[in-house]
């Protein structure tokens, strides 16, 4: 039978999903800015700021994650591991398109960093969203 217990997770958890989603939104905004200038190169200061903020947010989410105690790390690793594989393939496909299209220099570096942050944000979001509702099976940190 479905249990009728409270829908809230048992412990107050830091805003890891919100931070990672914020990171994803920032790098996507940076990517849109760069793409809006195609086939020419966009002025870089604004996307550099957006992508840097996205990177900082990703690091903040990862830092909050590593501080968690009594968390279902086994489940987190299972979900985030497979999500990382899937989104590394997706990011790799987009990177491949950029390389085929002769994207080079600073634009390629920025787009690669954007894709890397994007591919790391999603495993954190998916893994945490699942593991937060699971019983802590392993206390060891990732």
């Amino acid at each position: 039978m479905v249990s009728q217990s409270d829908a809230q997770p048992p412990q107050a958890l830091p805003p890891i999903v919100q931070t990672a989603v914020g990171s994803m939104a920032l790098v996507i905004a940076g990517g849109i800015y760069l793409a809006a200038y195609l086939p020419h190169q966009a002025p870089l200061p604004i996307p550099v700021v957006l992508i840097s903020l996205g990177g900082v947010s990703l690091l903040a989410a990862a830092a909050m994650l590593t501080r968690l105690r009594d968390f279902a790390w086994t489940r987190f690793r299972l979900v985030s591991g497979w999500a990382l594989v899937a989104y590394a393939v997706i990011a790799g496909m987009i990177e491949y398109v950029l390389l085929v299209d002769q994207t080079r220099g600073a634009l390629l570096v920025l787009m690669t960093i954007t894709l890397a942050i994007f591919a790391l944000d999603i495993p954190i979001i998916l893994g945490f969203s699942v593991a937060r509702h699971q019983q802590a099976g392993s206390a060891s940190r990732p």
Partner: protein, 204 residues
């Protein structure tokens, strides 16, 4: 007792008892070879610059992506919202695993082939003000990506993992399903904007 939010009546899980399914699949493994074949076809189409294949992948992938989003968001979603919790669970255990595989595949096929197609057809070089349509399409896709990957997909996965438990938490499933219904509705509505933008770009 029911929670009613924006006209969607969601029965309280207290009103329903549901047996946990004995086996809930998260990712249907049988579908992985199809996904792999589709991705290989995409790589070949891009590397060989096959215009017909890029066009096919973008039109077919985008059509399915848009159609499924609209259908799920505006037809299936409200129906799920009105189902009893046991029916919702039964439907979700069969429906959501397929979405986990289908949607990301359609998205990458559509986006990667679309970018390459736009380059080949010279659409990216179109000057403003027409270029704004392209920018608008990037923004719509970006917003949909944040909603789908940040809200919808995590709720989808969390429901499936909750259903794998011997005693699933009905209140949690109802809460996550409510999020699924709303976000699917929002992305469905945004797909209408995509249809308008793409029709406009295709008839320059």
């Amino acid at each position: 007792m029911a929670d009613t939010v924006s006209g969607i009546s969601l029965p309280s899980p207290a009103a329903a008892g549901v047996s946990s399914p004995t086996r809930v699949t998260i990712v249907p493994l049988a579908g992985l070879p199809i996904v792999g074949a589709a991705l290989i076809f995409l790589v070949v189409a891009i590397s060989a610059n096959w215009l017909w294949a890029l066009d096919f992948l973008h039109v077919a992938g985008g059509g399915l992506w848009t159609g499924i989003d609209l259908f799920v968001g505006l037809v299936i979603g409200p129906i799920i919202g009105r189902m009893s919790v046991p029916s919702r669970v039964e439907f979700s255990t069969r429906f959501m695993p397929k979405m986990v595989l289908i949607m990301p595949t359609l998205v990458i096929l559509t986006l990667a082939s679309g970018l390459q197609l736009a380059r080949n057809l010279g659409n990216l070089a179109v000057p403003y003000p027409n270029h704004w349509w392209l920018v608008a399409s990037f923004i719509v896709v970006g917003v949909m990506a944040v909603i789908a990957l940040g809200l919808l997909e995590p709720a989808n996965l969390a429901v499936l993992f909750e259903l794998k438990k011997p005693q699933p938490n009905g209140a949690l499933i109802a809460k996550l399903m409510r999020r699924f219904v709303y976000t699917a509705g929002i992305t469905g509505v945004m797909q209408i904007a995509t249809l308008v933008i793409m029709s406009r770009i295709a008839t320059w």
